[in-house]
Symmetry: C2
Subunit: 252 residues, 2 copies
């Protein structure tokens, strides 16, 4: 199963914020057996976001996760761009508006804001693409959206990491099936790096695993990540590698 | 001037590594007056990388910076993908090979590796797309490449952050002109967030600046980044904002 991730935000394109969201999302998807094929970052620009989403949809992944640009300010335009890319209208979600109202009333009561009024920016967050299911935001005001379009499951999440993570765990992952893969990281020590490749190829052949390798510096150390179904499988693979003379140290 | 960034690596798509390289590159480009329009991350797959590069070239940015996949292992295929995307051959760079040989001989003498022989993987790193200029890697073995193609300046850099940064600073930025912009970060305090937007719009109108704003939590605090030509301009803009009732605290 193929997935793509799109992150939205000028602060990512100016280098002011490191995009840690896409790695978080990618890890969760990978564990569930999705192969993340591409991650794209664009700015807060309706036309650009729309273009990127249309391109992703042409590649027909099983899942598309979009993060960022759902807030109340004028440059939060992701929902509009999604709606336009899908050729759908933005429709007021009454339930969402109610939830947003409660959210700001609570902030006002607790003294965080001076005015609980549902101004234009706050109301805007309650508009979702026609046919989309709202996704609850346990940590913030803006709801997310889930919509299936021409066979692609599209999830639209906020960009603030705390909100994105909460919505991903609570609302998105349960729709994407059980956790299927374990990722285990190792540091491998080999006397000759060129000998490692055929051993890894044999392990991939024998066991139900994917293995990523990357050199650590220029010495004898290679980082390995083993993706497989269970810790039992990890054990079988590492025993196999060690029997072939690869010394392994598990990380984290 | 428009720029795009492409980062390459399976470890980015599996979420095992957070892509901090693209933010670093984006920041340096932004300071030089480039507008980074899109960042794309793909895996270590010739066809995928080739496809992404071809798509970027169709959008005709002024600059394309590619990072990752230049090492000696079998899954380091970026140079090959770049050459194929440009319809060029990979050509042995004799000077690069000499440099690589010296590099491994030095590592061998210092006891970091057991064998200094130029095996297939190490020799591979000396092949660059026809017509490309090698970029020196002060921190590692693999050279980068600079090639101009149909008006797009393409730079191919390693993925290890230390190597990428050194090559960017030493070999790439001098080819991209002087530093033009200062980025200054502020925390703005406003009693009503909806009043800030018109004030910022007026500042952008009056001064030669770009301003990014993003809410910090749900209170009265908004993060502002001011992009302008000098600290003198930053001062003018902040004085203007403060005169309009926006309280500012400079960050970092």
């Amino acid at each position: 199963m193929i997935a793509e991730i799109v992150t939205v935000g000028d602060e990512l394109l100016s280098g002011n914020t490191v995009d840690s969201n896409s790695a978080f999302i990618a890890k969760r998807l990978t564990e569930r057996g999705y192969w993340v094929r591409r991650i794209t970052t664009v700015g807060d620009d309706v036309e650009e976001i729309k273009k990127v989403i249309s391109e992703v949809l042409e590649r027909k992944p099983d899942v598309l996760i979009i993060s960022g640009g759902l807030g109340p300010t004028h440059d939060d335009v992701t929902m509009l761009a999604v709606a336009e890319a899908l050729g759908r209208k933005l429709i007021l979600c009454e339930k969402c508006l109610e939830r947003i109202k409660e959210f700001y009333t609570k902030l006002y009561r607790e003294g965080y804001i001076d005015d609980p009024t549902l101004n234009e920016g706050r109301v805007k967050m309650a508009y979702l693409p026609e046919g989309a299911e709202p996704l609850e935001n346990p940590e913030g005001a803006a709801p997310g959206a889930y919509v299936e379009h021409e066979g692609v499951k599209i999830f639209v999440l906020p960009g603030m990491p705390r909100e994105m993570k909460a919505m991903l765990e609570k609302e998105v992952l349960p729709k994407l099936g059980e956790r299927k893969f374990v990722q285990a990281k190792f540091l491998a020590e080999v006397t000759d790096e060129s000998k490692l490749a055929p051993i890894l190829a044999e392990a991939v052949e024998r066991f139900n695993v994917r293995i990523h390798s990357s050199p650590k510096g220029f010495g004898k150390y290679i980082g390995l990540i083993i993706f497989t179904e269970s810790e039992g499988e990890v054990k079988k693979v590492t025993e196999f590698l060690e029997a072939k003379g690869v010394r392994l140290e598990r990380l984290r």
